[in-house]
Amino acid sequence: MIKLSNITKIYPPDITALHKVNLHIKPGEFVSVVGQSGTGKTTLVKLLISEEKADDGKIVIGGWDITAIGQAEISVLRRQIGVVFQDFKLLYKKTLFENVAFALQVCGEPQRKINNIVPQVLKIVGLENKMHRYPLQISGGEQQRAVIARALVHRPKILLADEPTGNLDSINADEIIEILQKINKFGTTVVLVTHNREVVNKLRKRVITIENGLVVGDQAVGKYVL
């Protein structure tokens, strides 16, 4: 599903975020990428959605070499991957319904389909009664659930979650992880980037550890060991 071969990313002047990283994530896996702040975890997510370009190496997603894709293809790539960000990245001037619908509208989906699917997805994340509220009218945990709904709505094969619990209390964090596990059970590959030890240890799934831009650990049923 996701294959990184010898990926290196250097930020000017000479900060090596990732150095010769090799990874292979299979379809349907739930993988936690752990490491302390500034070790290159977010750079990895940015490379996977082509927000950054690798200086060396090759990235293949679902058989598609995205290492050097053009601007027009980037939009197409992002419509096939669901992304959950730590800072939510919701459009404040749109309601939750509109935020989720936007992900389908950019794909050119018909309105009837959107009106049908969006409430269903919002129901999955428990926001069916708040779909006409604006992001700033709901809590952080609810905002993150709305982001998950937006990431899921076009049924992506891959869901990238970059520190999705970073701004949440433990109760909300547990709820978000539960939702991610549910999504994974439906067959979606989930890549969870986090430095939340408790969350990773509870999951008992594959753990990839990154330290100073290098992959220093990859356990099939791992724990947060740093």
Binding site: I49, E51, Q71, A72, S75, V76, L77, R78, R79, V83, F85, K89, L90, L91, Y92, K93, K94, F102, A103, Q105, V106, C107, G108, P110, Q111, R150
Partner: protein, 304 residues
């Protein structure tokens, strides 16, 4: 698919204008003020041209004829002059018409009227009033008139007119040059103000543009609502400018009419007869500036 996206883009654009209502109002106010200033400048330009045109229109050449010249020869001369290319119109003022006009002009001056009575006969000569077709070809007209050899012509001294004409042309040219310079400067400032207003409006959407890009929106899908908003802002700006400018012109028209009494100056008529041209061009120019500003600003913030 394209139609669906297009309709969505229009919907997003209207939604964006409504949900950022204060920002939209401020942008429209700036565009309106800029257009109002442009219209003020246009009003000044129209008044200047009307004044210079009216003064030029008053310039004519008088050919004084001998007192005893028979009417048939005068009419033959009139027709000869009418055939000259640079002549627009020739008016024949008979001795009788000349004295009547003189009396009318001095009707409040009893001394002059008394002197005329004491003379006992009409002292005025008949004359031909010649209006040139183009005031700039005045010299050609004088040459042609000087070439006419006819005994009934009493005098043809045109030198005074040449001096006045040179002065008027000089003033008109300078007014035109200054007008062009001020207009260009003004239009440039207006463009920069509107361009910046739209850029500031889009700057507040910087975060949104980045998010749209991360969700997979194409650059066109992000850009188009802002382009449409820019055109809508321009349209609303022009409409508000029209709503303001017409009462303003109606208010100043009586003052202009009294200030330029004797001249055909009606700024309202000018706006009415050139409505589509003036406001159509202003709408196009404002839209163009807005679209350009939107393209640059969105392009800058959508590089994610």
């Amino acid at each position: 698919m394209f139609l669906l996206s297009f309709l969505r883009v229009i919907k997003f654009s209207l939604q964006d204008i409504a949900r950022n209502i204060w920002l939209s109002i401020i942008t429209i106010i700036i565009i309106t003020l800029a257009l109002f200033s442009v219209n003020l400048l246009l009003t000044v330009k129209v008044l200047t041209s009307a004044t210079v045109g009216a003064v030029k229109d008053k310039i004519d050449v008088s050919l004084y004829l001998k007192s005893e010249a028979p009417e048939n020869l005068i009419l033959a001369l009139k027709s000869q002059i009418e055939n000259i290319d640079s002549v627009a119109k020739v008016d024949y003022i008979s001795k009788q018409a000349a004295i009547e006009s003189f009396r009318e002009k001095h009707k409040n001056d009893p001394e002059i009227l008394q002197a005329l009575l004491e003379l006992g006969k009409n002292p005025l000569s008949p004359g031909l009033i010649i209006k040139p077709k183009d005031i700039n070809n005045y010299d050609d007209l004088i040459v042609s008139l000087n070439k006419i050899d006819n005994d009934i012509i009493e005098s043809r001294n045109f030198d005074d007119h040449k001096a006045i004409l040179a002065k008027i042309n000089n003033i008109a040219d300078k007014a035109s040059e200054a007008g062009l310079f001020i207009s260009s400067l003004f239009v440039l400032i207006t463009i920069l103000v509107v361009y910046n207003a739209v850029r500031v409006a889009i700057f507040t959407h910087k975060r949104e543009i980045g998010i749209m890009k991360l969700v997979g929106a194409s650059t066109w899908f992000i850009r188009a609502p802002y382009l449409i908003s820019g055109v809508i802002y321009a349209l609303l700006g022009v409409v508000v400018a029209i709503i303001i400018i017409y009462p303003f012109l109606s208010l100043i028209q009586p003052y202009l009419a009294s200030f330029f009494s004797g001249l055909k100056v009606n700024i309202l008529d000018y706006y009415n007869s050139n409505f589509l041209l003036i406001f159509g061009l202003e709408f196009l120019a404002a839209s163009l500036v807005n679209v350009l500003a939107s393209l640059v600003a969105v392009g800058k913030y959508s590089k994610v």
